[in-house]
């Protein structure tokens, strides 16, 4: 076991995958000699050569389109989109192509591939270096959407994603890249997709969260505990396909639920959690699901700390559902 940052764990995951499987290829803008703008791919070109880790022209459509082609023809592409905000030129390739190839070809052609990209706020990136677009992709059958929140999961989920037979969008919470550290097993292991992680036990309120919101939820839960409200914190970590049974179980245990994300509220991921709980286990619920989310505005810059959910807003919601 080594103690790594989340960023180092991603890097370690990529290296582990490339060592175990010669068909894994890594590419994207600036991922080669520079090692990526966040250095997630540092050292890969050196260790694996410039055929297996290389820079591409500035075209997300080309990156994802080519990745699909590689996947159709036996490689395991792991491409990087420099910021999730810049994934939209590739939206057509992801939504119309990667997500639908297996279905439309009756299983003749498939796209086992991973698109890695940093997402989320907290680095004063303004409108275009801060967005959280998970809901777009979770509304797209055929895709899988994964978001780790710890170094251990970052590596383990990445390895599982690379081994997966279907296209996976792997969203990395850039706010946590260097701010969290943790034990990470050496070599190969994996954290299965579509499983939840219990971050903290508690019987009063269930908090569903993911990515950079997990540490905020933990902070809020500590403050809540000080007030006698013990929270069950669940890190969803695979958003789609979701372990719905697990979510319903965790919700039932307390009957009071808060769901947290950075993305705008309207038609955001939290709405699905809320709707799903209402439909399936309303009889267990003591309070309506409360959402703590970004606002329904573009992402601001100077005032981003107001925009992003923090422990205070989460605590308010915990108290709200607790007192309902």
């Amino acid at each position: 076991m080594a103690t790594l940052t989340l960023l180092q764990a991603v890097n370690d995951g990529l290296k582990t995958a490339m060592r175990r499987d010669p068909s894994v290829y890594v590419f994207g803008e600036d991922v080669g000699p520079k090692g990526g703008v966040f250095l997630a791919t540092e050292g890969l070109t050196k260790e694996f050569g410039k055929n297996r880790c290389f820079d591409t022209p500035l075209s997300e459509d080309g990156i994802v389109g080519a990745a699909i082609g590689m996947a159709l023809n036996g490689l395991k592409p792991v491409c990087e989109i420099q910021f999730q905000d810049f994934i939209f030129p590739a939206f057509d390739q992801i939504v119309s192509e990667a997500a639908k190839f297996r279905y439309r070809s009756g299983g003749q052609y498939t796209c086992p591939m991973v698109i890695r990209t940093p997402y989320g706020g907290g680095i004063r990136g303004g409108l275009y270096h801060s967005q959280s677009g998970e809901a777009y992709f979770c509304h797209t059958p055929g895709l899988k959407v994964v978001i780790p929140s710890t170094p251990h999961d970052a590596k383990g989920l990445l390895l599982a994603s690379i081994a997966d037979p279907d296209p996976v969008l792997f969203l990395e919470p850039k706010a946590l890249y260097r701010s969290v550290k943790g034990e990470v097993p050496e070599g190969d292991y994996s954290v299965p997709l579509s499983t939840l992680r219990t971050v903290r036990e508690g019987e009063r309120v269930t908090v569903f969260c993911y990515g950079a919101m997990v540490p905020q939820a933990v902070k809020a839960a500590e403050q809540a505990a000080a007030k006698g409200i013990e929270c069950l914190i669940v890190d969803l970590r695979t958003l789609y396909p979701l372990d719905e049974e697990g979510v319903l179980e965790a919700a039932k245990r307390t009957g009071r639920v808060v769901v947290v994300h950075e993305a705008p509220r309207f038609c955001g991921y939290g709405a699905e959690i809320s709707a799903m709980i209402a439909e399936n286990i309303i009889e267990y619920m003591e309070a309506p699901v409360a959402r703590v989310t970004g606002f329904d505005t573009p992402f601001p810059n100077t005032l981003e700390h107001h925009y992003m959910p923090d422990d205070r807003r989460i605590l308010d919601a915990i108290e709200h559902v607790h007192g309902f």
Binding site: P57, G69, F101, R104, G107, Y109, G142, P241
Partner: protein, 372 residues
């Protein structure tokens, strides 16, 4: 159309002036028969659509030489990333009309399991004829990625991707051409310039002098060929294929041709195509042109066309009847193949659909139990 003269081989008279096509009589006959098969398939689908038996089809009349000539330059181990008008390429390489008809009917035997619109074929044998999707141009960078995979494995596979004049405006064209140039990928880009993108004529599609010149923007050769001349297409695409196979990188081939029918069976081309243009091209039918060449070579005589076309019509007609009699896809096919393994939520949705279908007495639900 533009200043550049397209390369052609077969003259009006059928003469080829010593051009060494290098094709055996058998190969030439196969090309010829495939063109007739394309036309028979086309004619049949048009009738099936008009009589309401299938929902949609994509006319192919006039562009048979492009497709068959290009396909003939490939090996079975090569890959085709086709557009929706390219089924002649599949027929050339041995895909059966019956397999195609299953798709036109979207039935249980359709390789796409009835999920796609007609003409959105997918075959993985006898050649890779990669699943067609509707969005224009998306397949172009995919062909380049697939080519990269082959390069990495040091295979000498070539990847042909085909698209229309309109397709050159798509983002996939730009990214695919650019990536192929940088990677020197073994890809042949075939632009079938049939004069229109639905109703949009070339002068409203681009201000460039034709389409082949766009190759310059990506550092690769661009060649214009007479698309109604099977031997010329075969020659030009063949050279591009061989260059690619030997590591010489990609080529853009522009084949000038004309779509004699509507864009699709939903389209009425008289709203936008000048009559004179249709007349001009009617005189340049690719099948007749090839027949004149075959006749000069001593491989064709009057009567061959009717006999062969009839044969093809028989085969296609039988395929249509068989496809029509084949059952619809089972209800479960709505839910399978979304992922390799079906997630729980789809299992639940599937079960609900089965329950409802069973209550309604819908046959596609089988015995009403979700079988997976």
């Amino acid at each position: 159309m533009t200043a550049t003269q397209p390369i052609s081989v077969i003259e009006e008279s059928g003469a080829i002036n010593g051009h060494a096509h290098g094709l055996s009589k058998q190969e030439l006959s196969h090309c010829y028969r495939t063109m007739l098969l394309v036309r028979a398939f086309d004619d049949t689908c048009l009738k099936l659509q008009r009589s309401g038996r299938i929902g949609f089809s994509i006319p192919n009349k006039g562009v048979e030489a492009c497709q068959v000539g290009a396909a003939s330059a490939l090996r079975k181990s090569d890959w085709i990333f086709p557009s929706y008008r390219d089924f002649g390429m599949a027929l050339y390489h041995g895909v059966k009309p019956l397999d195609m008809m299953h798709n036109m009917y979207g039935n249980a035997q359709d390789s796409a399991k009835g999920r796609q619109m007609p003409v959105h074929f997918s075959f993985d044998a006898p050649i890779h004829f990669v699943s067609i999707s509707s969005p224009i141009g998306t397949h172009i960078p995919q062909a380049v990625g697939a080519a990269y995979a082959a390069m990495m494995r040091k295979e000498d596979t070539v990847f042909l991707t085909s698209f229309g004049d309109g397709g050159t405006s798509s983002l996939g064209f730009h990214s695919g051409m650019n990536f192929a140039g940088v990677w020197k990928a073994p890809v042949v880009f075939l632009c079938q310039n049939n004069g229109y993108a639905i109703s949009c004529p070339t002068e409203e599609q681009t201000a460039s002098d034709g389409y082949a010149i766009k190759a310059k923007a990506y550092g690769m050769p661009g060649v214009v060929v007479d698309g109604n001349d099977l031997l010329a297409v075969r020659k030009v695409v063949g050279e591009a294929v061989e260059r690619a196979r030997k590591g010489g990188g990609p080529t853009l081939v522009e084949a000038r041709t004309f779509r004699m029918g509507g864009h699709s069976t939903s389209d009425d081309p008289t709203r936008y195509v000048p009559k004179e243009l249709v007349e001009y091209w009617a005189k340049r039918d690719p099948i007749e042109r090839f027949e004149r060449f075959l006749a000069q070579a001593g491989y064709w005589k009057k009567g061959d066309r009717d006999r062969l076309y009839d044969e093809c019509m028989q085969e296609v007609g039988a395929a249509a009847r068989a496809a029509e009699e084949t059952a619809r896809p089972a209800l479960e096919t709505v839910f399978t193949d979304v992922y390799a393994d079906m997630p729980a939520h789809l299992r639940r949705q599937g079960q609900a659909a089965f329950d409802l279908a069973a209550r309604k007495g819908d046959a596609s639900a089988g015995d009403g139990k979700f079988p997976l």
